[in-house]
């Protein structure tokens, strides 16, 4: 069986003078990342290989960390814009998270108009959670209607961070933000819950792509922001395999930890074991030997 492909795209020019990501550079990073991921040279063809033209695509961001360490609007909006210029309709793109407050705190301007990219939280009036519980393996949760009703396809656009309980938080755990009770699933280092939330039909049937915002990586003491342990990695990690993407994210965190003289997550007793669980459940590849990592730098 072919290895799962994970693409890391970096750019030395991604930071503007204001220390914010440059949207034009981000757009180039997405274009290159999609091309490497799909093998298609043409942007629109690359997009069409993942989405139908009439798909309503949810871009699930993680904004719990506030402005300092969330999926940045300067990362999410260029993705939506690029998808909109390459075959998807902007009005069918939804950037979303649990609450509007968290989106705003992370720097997003919310909008839910008829045209254009929409940005809003599950707690918006008229949205909310499905009334019926989804009971799946060890998980019993209400899922956001954005995930179940509003969208037909889903991108996990997660921030890559160390996590005191889970080990790391990345693309899989990002979907904790799609359920009403994530606080109930942090026991046992979030294992097997991270894998099981992803495996639940509202997520598994819609997920198409993982993108990790690894421009700044919190490699220790996460998920909160601590400048001392946050590194400017300057990259995006993309994969169609949600487990492989997170596995590569874990490797990045370990590299940054090693460079800072910190012990491994395993040595700290908090390796993200949910990745092995996810692999056993057939959700993707966790072992580095079964992952093909391609790294490129764009101008």
């Amino acid at each position: 069986m072919a290895a799962s492909r994970v693409v890391i795209v970096k750019s030395g020019n991604v930071w503007t003078a204001n220390d914010t990501p440059d949207p034009a550079v981000m757009t180039r990073m997405y274009a290159r990342g999609f091309s490497l991921l799909t093998g298609e040279r043409d942007d629109a063809v690359a997009v069409s290989s993942l989405f139908r033209p009439d798909d309503r695509v949810g871009i699930k961001v993680n904004t719990i960390g506030g402005r300092a360490i969330s999926t940045r609007p300067e990362v999410a909006l260029p993705l939506a814009g690029w998808l909109g210029r390459n075959g998807l309709r902007e009005k069918n793109l939804f950037i979303w998270d649990r609450t509007t407050r968290e989106l705003r705190d992370a720097g997003y301007a919310t909008s839910a108009g008829r045209s254009g990219v929409k940005v809003f939280g599950t707690d918006t009036d008229g949205v909310g959670y499905e009334p019926d519980l989804v009971s799946h393996l060890n998980v019993g949760s209400l899922f956001s209607k954005i995930q179940t009703e509003f969208v037909t396809a889903s991108i996990s656009l997660a921030i890559l961070k160390d996590h005191g309980l889970a080990g790391i938080t990345a693309g899989l755990k990002n979907y904790f933000g799609a359920i009403h009770n994530p606080n109930k699933y942090h026991d046992f280092r979030c294992n097997p819950f991270v894998a099981e939330v992803f495996d639940a039909p509202p997520v598994k049937t819609r997920h198409r792509l993982t993108v990790l915002d690894a421009l700044v990586v919190q490699f220790h003491k996460g998920p909160s922001y601590h400048s001392r342990w946050a590194a400017k990695y300057g990259g995006l990690v993309l994969s169609l395999d949600p487990v492989a993407a997170d596995s590569v994210g874990w490797t990045i965190i370990e590299e940054l930890r090693a460079a800072a003289g910190l012990p491994t997550l395993k040595d700290e007793g908090r390796a993200p074991e949910y990745l092995a669980t996810a692999e056993k459940m057939g959700l993707g590849r966790a072992r580095p030997a079964s992952i093909e990592t391609i790294e490129e730098t764009v101008a």
């Binding site: 407050r101 254009g116 809003f120 939280g121 009403h180 109930k184 942090h186 996460g222």
Partner: protein
């Protein structure tokens, strides 16, 4: 509301991009900016380096970074200070017969002002109130009800007690405590309905201001607690011991779930333990389970199982053993341990007769413990 209706409504309400954006922001703020949340500093926590905190309210001892919430979902670390988000934010407020809690030895036949906020520190798969207990406070409607106002409401409604119930009162400890203090000043009793997952220090403080505690003993094995409660049995047993040793009245409820916690040998062991550690006079209620939340594949508890459990506990020397959630059953009534006569006759939540005078059986004079006036 489905997606299509939402988008129509957004457009129809002037929420389209451009001219409508300001009003949209207002609408979003109404739900998203957290007016439904309190920000009152929590008690029983420790500040740690790097803006982390350690919650010491319940046995989970959640260690949380900035912007994180505990397992309960209602307490949050904001910049290194820990806050309760549900102080005075009542999501359920009713006047119930005190028998509904159930308390069978506390002011029988009286109404209790019963209140709850969102949240719970366990996740029972058979929770009967999961819509308010297993949610975050933003996800339910809540009323503002200050502690003093709650006490006044109870007084005005002619309720001689306030019951902290429905969800898990431990997670709204600060609000419960402050309300209890104010109610006590007015001569109103305070009764707590809890799963008993609470640490010794807060429990000790709570017992100084409340009159009665009912603890849900959800099973009698750690295996059951791990699998179906997501909690620990040991601290619950410790809480039962602590309340039993105090001057606060204690009752225990055991929800009997077919095939999960209905083994008679375990129930016998539990009854022995209650008699030894809490006392023979502690009322134990065996309640009927109804399919709910994540356990919908099991039938309601057969009456014969409840009757067996009651018989077993009586055999082990417990004096007051009841059957719950079976209206009209004889096991709902209180029987004098001296003469065997009916001391309090109950049908459902109704009291048909009380034959207790000054804490003693009217017929034979045997003391019947409880809070009777």
């Amino acid at each position: 509301m489905n997606r299509r209706r939402f988008m129509r409504r957004a457009a129809g309400a002037g929420l389209a991009l451009g001219a409508g954006l300001p009003s949209l922001c207002g609408r979003l703020a109404a739900r998203g900016a957290g007016p439904n949340l309190s920000r009152v500093e929590a008690r029983y926590y420790r500040k740690l380096p790097d803006r982390e905190i350690e919650c010491r309210l319940c046995p989970r001892v959640c260690r949380l970074g900035d912007k994180e919430r505990g397992y309960c979902g209602v307490r949050e670390n904001i910049g290194g200070t820990y806050y309760t988000l549900v102080y005075g934010k009542v999501c359920s407020l009713n006047i119930d017969p005190i028998e509904k809690k159930p308390f069978f030895h506390v002011l029988p036949g009286t109404p209790a002002l019963s209140l709850a906020t969102a949240g719970c520190n366990v996740n029972c798969k058979f929770c009967q109130n999961w819509e308010i207990s297993q949610v975050r406070p933003e996800q339910v409607e809540a009323y503002d009800l200050a502690p003093e106002t709650a006490a006044v409401r109870a007084e005005e409604a002619g309720c001689p007690s306030i019951a902290y119930t429905y969800t898990e009162p431990t997670v709204f400890f600060e609000y419960m405590y402050d309300t209890a203090v104010r109610a006590k000043r007015k001569g109103i009793r305070n009764v707590v309905v809890t799963g008993g997952h609470i640490n010794a220090e807060p429990l000790g403080d709570l017992l100084s201001v409340v009159d009665a505690v009912k603890i849900d003993l959800k099973g009698f094995s750690q295996e059951f607690y791990s699998q179906y409660v997501r909690g620990e049995l040991k601290p619950v047993l410790e809480a039962i011991r602590t309340v039993a040793k105090s001057k606060v009245w204690l009752e225990i409820v055991y929800l009997v779930i077919p095939t999960l916690n209905d083994r008679m040998d375990l129930i016998r062991e539990m009854a022995k333990w209650v008699r030894r550690e809490a006392g023979e006079h502690v009322p134990v209620h065996f309640s009927r389970f109804h399919p709910m939340y994540l356990v919908k594949n099991l039938p309601p508890t057969p009456l014969s199982t409840l009757e067996s459990a009651r018989r077993t506990a009586l055999e082990e020397g417990l004096r007051f053993v009841y059957i719950g959630n079976v209206p009209g059953h004889g096991g709902e009534s209180t029987y004098c341990p001296g003469c065997g006569g009916v001391a309090i006759e109950r049908v459902g939540y109704s009291i048909e007769s009380v034959r207790i005078k000054k804490g003693k059986c009217e017929r034979c004079g045997t003391p019947i413990p409880g809070i009777w006036a």
